[in-house]
Structure formats: C-alpha cells, structure tokens
C-alpha cells in the first residue's frame, strides 16, 4: 500500500470517518456542477427533502450544451434550453454560484475553475464529469462522479468511496520540438493501455512534468481517466504557486504564505512508497495521433497503423473492430490520412497556450485551411476568448480560414450543434475517439495536439507539425 504520497496525505486529511461498509466518508473541498449531470441530482434532493449544507463549496457553470455560434436565448434546441432553465432555477433555489454565458466567467468547467483560482493544491475536487481529473494538475485529488454522487455531495459535502492505489508515472528528459503535453499523455496511454490505470491514482512525476506550465500539466491530468485512472495529479511546486498568485479565489495577503506552507506539506515525500512505478523518456515521444476507437490507439506520426498482434490477444477483437470502424488497415501510414473536419478546443486543449501554439503553427505554415476541410477553434472559456482576441489570435485564425467561436465543450462530445456528419474524419484536440463520440454515429476521430490539428487543417490530411517548426 502506498505511503507518504500526496494522494495518501490528501485522502487522510479529508477522511471524515469510516462507514459501516468499510468505505470512507470523504470530504469534498470543491464541488463543480454543470447542466448535464446535475438536474436529476437536484430532483433527488427535492424528492428526499434534503438541503445543501455547504452551498459555498459548489460552483456551477454551463458548457456541454451551450451553442458556440448563436448563443441568443432561448436556444433553438428546446431540450438544451430546458436544461439551461433548470440549472439556473436549481442554483438559485439552493444558493449556488452559477457562471452563465455573458458573465465573463463561463466556460468549460475544468477550464474556469483553475483560471479563477478555485482549484488549489491539497483539495479534494469532485464533479459529475470524468475529466475532473484535470484539476489534479494543481496537486488536488480530483475525480469524476455520477449523478447520484452529485446528490450526495450536494446533500452532505461528502462521498462514500474506497481508497485507490497509487502508481507513479515518471517521465524524464526534454521534449523535442513539436512534441507537446498532449503527445506525452497519448504516449503514456498507448504504453499503459486504456484500462491499465483502473484502481489507481496516477502521480505524474519527473523532470518533464516539472518543466511544464500549469496549462500543459492540466492537459496531462485531464486524460488520466482515458488510461483508467480516475484521478491523476502532479505535486505542487513554484510553477503551481506562481500560477495561483493573484487569481480571484486564491488566498491573498497574510493567508498566502500559510497557504503555500500547506500546499508544500501535502506534496509526496521523497521517500514515499508507491504501489507501482512506470517510467518513460521524453526523447522517445513523437507527435502522436490516434488511429482507432480508444484513446490508447495512438501511434507516432511517422509510424504505421499497428498489427493486431502487437496487442494482447484479449484485445484483438477490439482492434479488428477499430480497423473496420475507422476503415484503416494495419501497416498503413497514419500520415497522409485525409481529414474532413479540424477541431481545436475542449477541456484537454482549449486554453490560451493551446491557441497560441496553433496560431504559431498556422503562421509558420502560411497557407489556408484546405478547401475540403471545415476547421473551427473554440476557446475553453470566455476569459480565454478575451485574451486570445486581445492578442489578435482570432484574426490569425480567421485570416487562414478557421472559424472562431464562443466558449463551450463544442464537438468534444457534440451535445450541441457542433457535430460530425456521416463518416467524416475529424482531427481533434479533444480527449476521446470513441465510436460516435463527435456526434455522428459513424463519425471518426483522430486525437492529436492542437498544433497537429492546425497543420492537418491546412494540409487537409494528417501531417507532421515538425516540418513547419524547423
């Protein structure tokens, strides 16, 4: 059993008491909610006559169903409109803060909480959304929950949970040019599989993560869940503290030093004990693209689609299903695969640094979006949009043929008007390439970094971003 890790310390600090089943009653420091997984939870509260004892510890926004083109209310989609009405009513009734479009603070839930300083080291964070793992970038224990559990957090600020094991995922060395945080996590997923992390919290450690910005760390932790790890985290350090300083909800004044002392105290001890350790070298990682129907189906952009024999026999049926669904063959190079749609955005890669990097690639390339490609860029939050426009990034995108949208989840999961059509192939900076994920039941998704999406949009096919970054 792990000992002395950040996970152990934060878990123990938040343990309220053991429950009769042997599960732990765990205090949740920050509860985030959105319009999709919360309405039924509020209905359950009403059914059972329950109150929300800690309303100040829950923060709400709207992101999944929000249109990214026409945001005028009422929305054309009456079901989406109904969900908007419900969350506003629920938040008002129970005294919960809600950041709606136009507030300047709305956006993808996993983008707005960090940018407002709500997410802090040493917290437990829960949200009815699997990408809650994102907040682990700050050294928080953050995980997704379902709607019945949203009800439990609302009603008690706690959850009934079993303890996880801790795996250290160590990456050391310097990333090569054109290789981004997204490539690092896609590489890890490829090596450890989509189910390899089940039962584990992933601690991402080593010099590669230490050198990353907070935004890059968020991209890493965001996709821990795609490896089966319900949460992933990085120990807080000076980069973390510098990011937090001065943000709206971050501690200030005399409290700042006390907060930093607490944050330092919960980092993993140098002699911490882990249940498992896996190590990788940064230099071995290339720009990575997925070819199949699971986020662990990744290959370096210079590689070919792998033979099924390179997977364990138990997975051969899934791999064959992936070849068939994606209409690809083993041995076929991934570079050159034609795309129809290019999407930059999502809680994985919808932050300002992602947009800056995309703009840099577009400018270096100098061309226009390929004539057969629809390319659009969706800022992760209203704040990201504002900064991007102040820097003139929107003008770069528009000039080169990309659409520039309003903040939301957009085509990451296509619960809004942004959807693939038919068998379209999407180059996407999002997190999941599941069958039908981007809105068409037969649509196909290739996951990659925002820089790789940008070059794919311009070339009209999967291409190596390193060719323009020289």
């Amino acid at each position: 059993m792990s000992k002395g890790t950040l996970f152990d310390k934060v878990w123990d600090l938040h343990t309220v008491r053991p429950l009769s089943s042997g599960q732990t009653q765990l205090f949740i420091g920050l509860h985030l909610i959105h319009e999709v997984t919360s309405p039924q939870a509020f209905a359950m509260l009403r059914e059972r006559g329950l109150k929300v004892p800690y309303p100040e510890r829950t923060v709400a926004t709207v992101d999944h169903i929000v249109p990214t083109e026409d945001q005028a209310r009422p929305y054309a989609d009456t079901q989406a409109e109904e969900m908007m009405v419900h969350i506003a009513r629920n938040c008002k009734e129970f005294g919960i803060r809600l950041y709606e479009p136009g507030s300047g603070k709305q956006g993808v839930v996993h983008i707005i909480a960090p940018e407002q300083g709500l997410t802090q080291p040493g917290m437990t964070v829960a949200c009815g959304d699997s990408h809650t793992a994102t907040h682990g970038a700050f050294g928080a224990i953050a995980f997704g929950i379902g709607t019945s559990q949203v009800r439990d957090v609302l009603a008690t600020q706690t959850l009934s949970l079993g303890r996880m094991k801790v795996r250290k995922v160590q990456v050391d060395g310097k990333l090569n040019p054109g290789v981004y945080a997204k490539d690092v996590i896609l590489h890890i997923l490829r090596k450890l599989s989509a189910k390899g992390g089940t039962g584990f919290a992933y601690e991402f450690a080593g010099s590669t993560f230490a050198a990353m910005t907070m935004e890059e760390r968020m991209t890493i932790c965001n996709m821990a869940i795609e490896g089966g790890a319900r949460c992933g985290y990085i120990n807080p350090d000076e980069t973390t503290f510098a990011y937090l300083k001065g943000r709206e909800h971050a501690p200030s004044g005399a409290n700042w030093d006390k907060a930093v002392a607490y944050w330092k105290s919960i980092a993993s001890d140098t002699d911490a004990v882990y249940d498992d350790v896996k190590a990788f070298r940064a230099e071995d990682i290339a720009p990575t693209v997925t070819w199949g129907i699971s986020p662990d189906h990744g290959v370096g952009v210079g590689e070919s689609i792998p033979a099924k024999e390179s997977f364990t026999q138990d997975d051969w049926a899934t791999v064959e299903e992936a070849y068939q669904y994606m209409d690809v063959k083993a041995g076929q190079p991934i570079a050159g695969m034609k795309i129809d749609v290019a999407f930059i955005g999502s809680c994985t890669n919808g932050r300002i640094s992602d947009l800056r990097e995309a703009a840099k690639v577009i400018t270096a390339h100098g061309g226009q979006v390929a004539s057969h490609v629809k390319a659009f860029i969706v800022p992760g939050s209203e704040a990201v949009k504002k900064v991007a426009e102040a820097e003139g990034l929107d003008k770069v995108f528009l000039k080169h043929g990309f659409e520039w949208r309003e903040a939301g989840c957009s085509m990451c999961l296509a619960m809004n008007p942004d959807k693939l059509q038919g068998r379209q192939v999407s180059a996407s900076s999002s997190n999941r390439n599941f069958k039908g994920r981007q809105g068409s039941p037969s649509g196909r998704t290739l996951l990659m970094s925002p820089a790789m999406v940008a070059i794919a949009a311009l070339e009209g096919k999967v291409a190596d971003v390193r060719t323009v970054l020289k």
Binding site: L13, Q40, H64, T156, S160, G162, A317, G439
Partner: protein, 201 residues
C-alpha cells in the same frame, strides 16, 4: 428501509467486447434531458442500429434475450464519460446486476449508488458465461454476493467484489446518503481541520 441485495436471479444477456464506453451505452444526444425517464429504449442505440444495418442483431434487440436481468460483459466495461445516464439506461432496459472482467471505476461507483451490483470474473469465465447464455438463453443466472459466485444453470463460477461495496449491498447500505447525512457533525469537524476551509486562519 434499506434494501438488502444478496442474490439476484434471472436470465442473462451477453454483450461482448472490451472497452465498451459509456458513449456507446448511451450516446450524448440522449443526455439532453432533465430526468432519466425513457433512457432504457436508447441503451446501445447506435451499436444496435449499426448491427441492424449490417444484417446482424445486437443482444439487446434479440428476442431470446428480452427480459434478461443479468448483463454479462468483458473488460473495462463502462469506460469513458461519468454519465450516470449509462447505467440508468441499462437498468431501465431491465438489468439489475452486471458480471464482467473489469469496469471503469466511475461506472462502477454509479452502479453501487444505484443499487446495481457489479461482479468481476476472469477473462475465461466471462467468455464461458456468455457462451452458456448464448447456447441456452433461458438458463437461470444467479449472482450471489455472499458466496461470491455466479451460477449459470448447474455451473458455478468464482466471482469477486471488493469488500466495501459487497458489504454495502448485503447490509442495504448501498444507498449511502442516509449514513453520510448521519455523519453531519463529523463532517463539520473534518471541514474545520482543513486549512483551506477555515481560510488558513
């Protein structure tokens, strides 16, 4: 009154394949709702339609599996999105227990909170159980949380469930809300010990 779940007996339905994600169990367009009502009809909707278009039939559409209570799957079942709509859709279709090699943890946690026990069996046994049900869809399947077994007709398979969730089912504590609320004083005390809750005072 707590609902104690020790055994569930009924017919089974095999859904083969590793890494069946919650987008496949319930596509996102069906999440545009404010209740879970009516989700049962849309469980596995896109998979079902695609198989039908290929002249094949998804087990959820096969007449011989209608009325099944026990879903038998393979590895990493329910991975991906945390949407409780996925287990709700399966449950509303009629499933009251699941047997698989492994589950995504969020899906598994949702099932506990809903009172749907999820047992684990080996890779070979999940395949064997699916084959037995395919050969005889009327065969009686029993999941037994006390003996930790899955019984299919005369055959018995060893099953696993972590002790915490197992106790939650056999003592009726799977709906944890009541017990969590009872701990209100302890919650307050725990919150008072956390530096960030007390504003680092």
């Amino acid at each position: 009154m707590p609902i104690i779940i020790k055994t569930i007996t009924g017919r089974g339905v095999p859904v083969r394949g590793n890494d069946i994600d919650t987008d496949r169990i319930i596509p996102a367009r069906f999440l545009r709702c404010v209740t879970f009502d009516g989700l049962g009809a849309h469980a596995f909707e896109d998979d079902r339609k695609q198989l039908t278009a290929q002249g094949k039939t998804h087990p959820f559409d096969e007449a011989r599996f209608q009325g099944a209570k026990v879903l038998v799957a393979n590895s990493n079942f329910g991975c991906g999105s945390s949407r409780e709509h996925a287990p709700q859709a399966i449950a509303k279709w009629g499933i009251t227990a699941i047997v698989a090699v492994s589950y995504s943890e969020i899906f598994y946690g949702n099932c506990i909170a809903m009172g749907v026990p999820c047992l684990k069996v080996s890779v070979a046994d999940s395949d064997a159980i699916q084959s037995l049900i395919e050969a005889d869809p009327k065969v009686e399947v029993t999941i037994d949380l006390e003996a930790l077994q899955v019984r299919v007709g005369a055959k018995t398979f060893v099953a696993q469930m972590a002790d915490g969730p197992r106790k939650q089912f056999v003592t009726g504590a799977w709906d944890a809300t009541g017990e969590l609320i009872e701990g209100a004083a302890a919650v307050k005390a725990a919150a008072g010990r956390l530096p960030y809750v007390t504003n680092f005072a």
